[in-house]
């Protein structure tokens, strides 16, 4: 098993570098690779680089958050937006647009409301200082639905123009213009993911249940709070910067489990690389397939991810 994972990870790493260069060199503007580094195209190169990096960061953040939630909640359907981050951030962005807040500050508004939503979800679920997992899921689902309803309500009674601005955000986009914002989010995501990696063993044991975790000597409530906190920060910051991108956080972990097994140490490494490759590919397709029109990346992640997953699943079933 271990030799097989090493081979897979090696292949993934090669794919990563290949995809990285492909995504930098290819874009809507028909610039031959040789000329791309000329000074007149510097801005284009910079924007492309930023976009590719954003895709990597988003992929890593979402898929690792998915893994953590799937382990903690012991639920294969868990995904990063389960705790209400997407609706929370969406409402914040919508309110900010209505209040005429400058485009620059919209991600901040989304981030703050996402955190407030998460805080509310915890407060509703917490009991005697403990966070019962099933209550957390319920609380997140309810708040998510409630906030989505509020969003729809507000959109229906205000001017139509707002709809377009929020629609952009709901579909997800990898285009970032403000470098400082990107750096902040990148730091949060990479830091968070590194921390999660150190909890690999705890995550393994959590899959067997919280009781097993106590038996193994893990301070269950503390570890839960830390991991949920990290996941919340990662998801909130990603959602506020690039909008909602479905599928990545749910499916990439499962795909990687099919290839590498469920042990989190190698699962996390593999997922980090695989999700980067996947997101870079999706972003490339999103911006070049129907150039110059950009397809929302959430559409591509679903269209590309579903068949891939089915192929892998069928292969595994045949082997067994």
């Amino acid at each position: 098993m271990r030799r097989k994972s090493r081979a897979s990870i090696l292949i993934l790493t090669v794919a990563f570098f290949a995809m990285f260069f492909l995504c930098i060199l290819k874009g809507t503007a028909p610039i031959p690779p040789g000329e791309l580094f000329q000074p007149q195209f510097h801005t284009i190169l910079f924007l492309r680089l930023l976009r590719v990096l954003m895709a990597i960061i988003a992929g890593i953040g979402l898929s690792v958050s998915g893994i953590v939630l799937q382990a903690l909640l012991r639920n294969p359907l868990a995904e990063p937006y389960l705790l209400g981050t997407s609706s929370g951030a969406g409402l914040g962005v919508l309110l900010a647009i209505l209040l005429g807040v400058s485009s620059f500050l919209l991600p901040l508004a989304g981030f703050l409301t996402a955190l407030i939503t998460l805080f509310l979800v915890y407060r509703v679920a917490v009991h005697n200082g403990r966070i019962p997992i099933h209550t957390l899921v319920l609380s997140g689902a309810i708040l998510s639905v409630a906030l989505s309803a509020i969003i729809v309500f507000i959109i229906s009674i205000t001017a139509n123009e707002t709809l377009h601005d929020v629609m952009w955000w709901l579909w997800g986009s990898m285009q970032v213009y403000e470098l400082p914002l990107f750096i902040i989010v990148a730091v949060i995501v990479t830091g968070g993911v590194a921390l999660v990696f150190f909890f690999s063993r705890e995550l393994d044991i959590f899959c067997l249940g919280e009781e097993e975790a106590v038996h193994a000597g893990i301070s269950v409530e503390n570890v839960k709070k830390i991991l949920l906190g990290i996941v919340s920060l990662i998801t909130a910051s990603l959602v506020s910067l690039c909008g909602v991108i479905g599928f990545v956080g749910l499916i990439i972990p499962h795909m990687m489990r099919l290839c590498l097994g469920a042990r989190h140490r190698q699962l996390l490494i593999g997922t980090v690389i695989a999700s980067s490759v996947f997101m870079m590919a999706c972003d490339l397709i999103a911006r070049t397939a129907f150039a110059p029109v950009e397809i929302p990346i959430g559409v591509i992640t679903a269209l590309l991810g579903a068949p891939l997953f089915i192929i892998l699943l069928k292969r595994k079933q045949r082997i067994q």
């Binding site: 874009g27 809507t28 503007a29 028909p30 610039i31 007149q40 195209f41 801005t43 284009i44 924007l47 492309r48 400058s102 485009s103 620059f104 229906s156 205000t158 001017a159 139509n160 123009e161 377009h164 601005d165 952009w168 285009q175 213009y177 403000e178 911006r287 150039a291 110059p292 029109v293 950009e294």
Partner: protein
């Protein structure tokens, strides 16, 4: 002063004048050689009318008139311009509208590009906007001519309609989409068009430019004329008749349902509004 010095002074003055006029001409010529991108279909039409076809390097996918615009490079959809493509074309100025493009405008300006936003809410603002565009692109005389032409047409129509009392004006419902029912209210350009062509928009009081409208309201206000701005396979009259209770509406009863006006003539705040106004007037007052 000797003859030599006089000649020399003249020579210098002459060179200065020549130099200055040359410089003036080059800057004027530079202004005329602007590389233009237009993301707004209405502005694209205006630019073509001003004779700027050669300077347009990119348009949005929604720009479809005049037909030659097909040849131009596309830089994205209406609300999502492709920044990379725009940068690649190295424009000197980008024309946008407000509303959906507001975010894009901010992003483009952030990258140091020159953006001009035009979002006329009524006929007067439209004419002013054309003048402004003429100023920016160095096509002042052409712009004045276009504005003059438009103003004359609008005035002609105004003469025909200004004395018609409100009760005699047809009540109009503009249906932008059927499901959900959408119409245009105060603040939208087409609302202005309806009024200018001598009609009364039954949705005029709705403060939003574009909104969902209650079918009950339509029945209550009983429009005499229905303008549809979308294409449908079904004949419009049949479609309206199928709607529950709509048989009682004057417009349906009299068969005054029109979907044969090119929507871009009335929804787009561009040079062709004069045609649009004519078409609307013909539908509102078919017997004049």
């Amino acid at each position: 002063m000797g003859l030599y010095q006089v000649k020399r002074t003249f020579h210098i003055i002459f060179c200065c004048i020549a130099g200055i006029s040359f410089l003036a001409q080059t800057s004027h010529a530079q202004e005329q050689n602007l590389r233009i991108i237009s993301l707004a279909p209405a502005t694209t039409e205006i630019l073509y009318s001003l004779g700027l076809e050669a300077q347009i390097v990119g348009v949005s996918t929604f720009c479809n008139y005049p037909p030659q615009v097909k040849e131009k490079a596309k830089v994205g959809s209406f609300s999502q311009p492709n920044i990379e493509m725009i940068l690649y074309l190295q424009p000197d100025i980008i024309f946008c509208t407000g509303l959906e493009q507001a975010r894009a405008v901010v992003q483009l300006r952030h990258l140091g590009l020159r953006v001009h936003v035009s979002d006329p809410k009524n006929l007067q603002e439209l004419l002013e906007s054309v003048i402004k565009i003429g100023d920016i692109t160095g096509k002042k005389p052409q712009a004045s001519e276009l504005v003059q032409h438009m103003r004359e047409n609008i005035e002609q129509l105004n003469i025909l309609t200004k004395d018609i009392p409100v009760e005699k004006r047809p009540r109009v419902f503009l249906e932008i989409w059927h499901d959900p029912l959408m119409t245009a209210g105060k603040g939208s350009f087409v609302d202005v068009m309806i009024t200018a062509a001598g009609g009364v928009n039954i949705a005029h009081e709705t403060p939003r430019p574009y909104s969902y409208f209650n079918a009950e309201e339509v029945l209550y206000r009983n429009p005499q004329c229905l303008i549809l701005t979308y294409m449908s396979r079904q004949k419009p009259l049949e479609r309206m008749r199928k709607r529950l209770g709509w048989n009682a509406v004057d417009a349906v009863r009299d068969g005054r349902i029109y979907n044969d006006i090119d929507p871009n003539l009335i929804l787009r705040a561009g040079p062709r509004i004069v045609e649009g106004l004519q078409e609307l007037y013909k539908r509102f007052y078919p017997y004049t």
